[in-house]
């Protein structure tokens, strides 16, 4: 079972639990007793960012310290900002649980590709909850402000980015408070990169896995181009798509892109071999 459902689900899927969007959950405490005085001034997310950078650097430069730093980074991201992949349908359900909903710019894309999203047409990130009212404190983070939207507008916006090929994930802001829904792709998304390239679990696999129906698949390959995790390939021998369910993160992009409904999303927990794969 998903660890976050066990600790924060109260008997249901944790991101379907309205409590995890509630105002009183919105808190990010500074880490006490951090040795470096400069680190004390940083917010917890920046502190985690520093450890993450150290772990990334150590992977090749200092392999001996890498496992230890990776462990530390994993612990920190779990406490501060951790993501889990959700399907389009789940993301569209979530916007009914949280309020307010605001579209905003993606911080990863700015950092990795220098992309500035400063109007409502380019925003690729969605902020949820009470924190969004305070966006104007950090104009550098929220370039061009934020766009408050209704749940229906938010659903249209999610569909738009899904069609373009972005996968959705929820992101915590002081776990278990869920502070937003991201639209991600590789390599722009730092969470995907940390997970795939450095083994840092800032992104947890979703509750679903994709499975191909070989009867319906005609091998057109649209799904191959939509997978952000390298799990989908065209198997030339069979002339069909092959999805490695172990590599699948369950975003459902292959499913929403398939014109023949040849991909079905299967609940992870119903497959004995997938239950422990997150």
């Amino acid at each position: 079972m998903c660890q976050y459902c066990m600790t924060h689900g109260h008997g249901q899927v944790w991101y379907k639990n309205a409590l995890n969007y509630a105002r009183q959950m919105y808190k990010l405490r500074k880490r006490e007793g951090a040795g470096d005085p400069r680190q004390k001034e940083l917010d917890p997310e920046s502190q985690a960012g520093l450890i993450l950078a150290q772990a990334v650097e150590a992977k090749t430069a200092d392999p001996q310290r890498y496992p230890e730093l990776k462990k530390m980074a994993n612990r920190l991201v779990m406490q501060t900002s951790v993501g889990q992949v959700v399907t389009l349908q789940e993301a569209m359900d979530i916007v009914d649980l949280a309020s307010p909903i605001a579209l905003m710019s993606c911080v990863c894309r700015k950092m990795t590709r220098g992309k500035v999203e400063d109007d409502e047409r380019s925003y690729t990130c969605m902020g949820l909850g009470i924190g969004m009212f305070k966006w104007d404190r950090w104009p550098e983070r929220y370039k061009g402000g934020v766009e408050f939207v209704t749940p229906d507008q938010a659903r249209d916006w999610l569909r738009k980015w899904n069609k373009k090929g972005m996968m959705h994930s929820i992101m915590t802001h002081g776990t278990p408070y869920i502070g937003g829904i991201c639209n991600c792709d590789y390599p722009d998304c730092l969470a995907i990169r940390y997970r795939l390239d450095y083994g840092i679990n800032q992104l947890i696999k979703g509750h679903w896995v994709a499975k191909v129906d070989y009867e319906k698949c005609n091998g057109c390959g649209v799904c191959v181009s939509r997978c952000q995790f390298g799990a989908v390939k065209k198997e030339v021998t069979t002339g069909k798509t092959n999805i490695d369910m172990m590599r699948c993160f369950g975003c459902g992009l292959c499913e929403t892109g398939c014109k023949r409904q040849a991909v079905t999303m299967v609940e992870r927990t119903t497959l004995p071999g997938m239950r422990g794969v997150w």
């Binding site: 590709r113 220098g114 104007d136 104009p139 983070r141 390239d197 181009s225 390298g230 590599r247």
Partner: protein, 100 residues
């Protein structure tokens, strides 16, 4: 797009990780240009916002407000596209044993 999370075969041969130096003296306003960020096939660089003030928007043309950090340098293949794209000549990449 197929990406394999494979371990290097021949792992007894040490992999060459480049030393990447970005010079703030030569490139004081990276956010105003960002050519290296956009061109890198491996997305090696990360933009750091040095000046992040409450209630004040950072000016992209202010020297020293942003910095470039080659955080993912272990993924650098050495194509040198960024070196060629940089109008200020601010990026220096050196692989050990490849001449300096």
């Amino acid at each position: 797009m197929v990406r394999m999370m494979w371990e290097d075969a021949f792992s007894e041969i040490p992999r060459s990780i480049p030393r990447i130096v970005w010079s703030m003296d030569r490139c004081p306003t990276p956010m105003a240009c960002k050519k290296c960020l956009e061109i890198c096939p491996q997305a090696v660089f990360m933009l750091i916002t040095v000046k992040n003030q409450k209630f004040v928007e950072t000016d992209v043309n202010e020297p020293g407000a942003y910095a470039m950090h080659p955080l993912f340098r272990d993924k650098c293949v050495g194509c040198l596209d960024c070196v060629r794209a940089c109008p200020a000549g601010a990026i220096n990449i050196a692989f050990e044993g490849e001449g300096d």
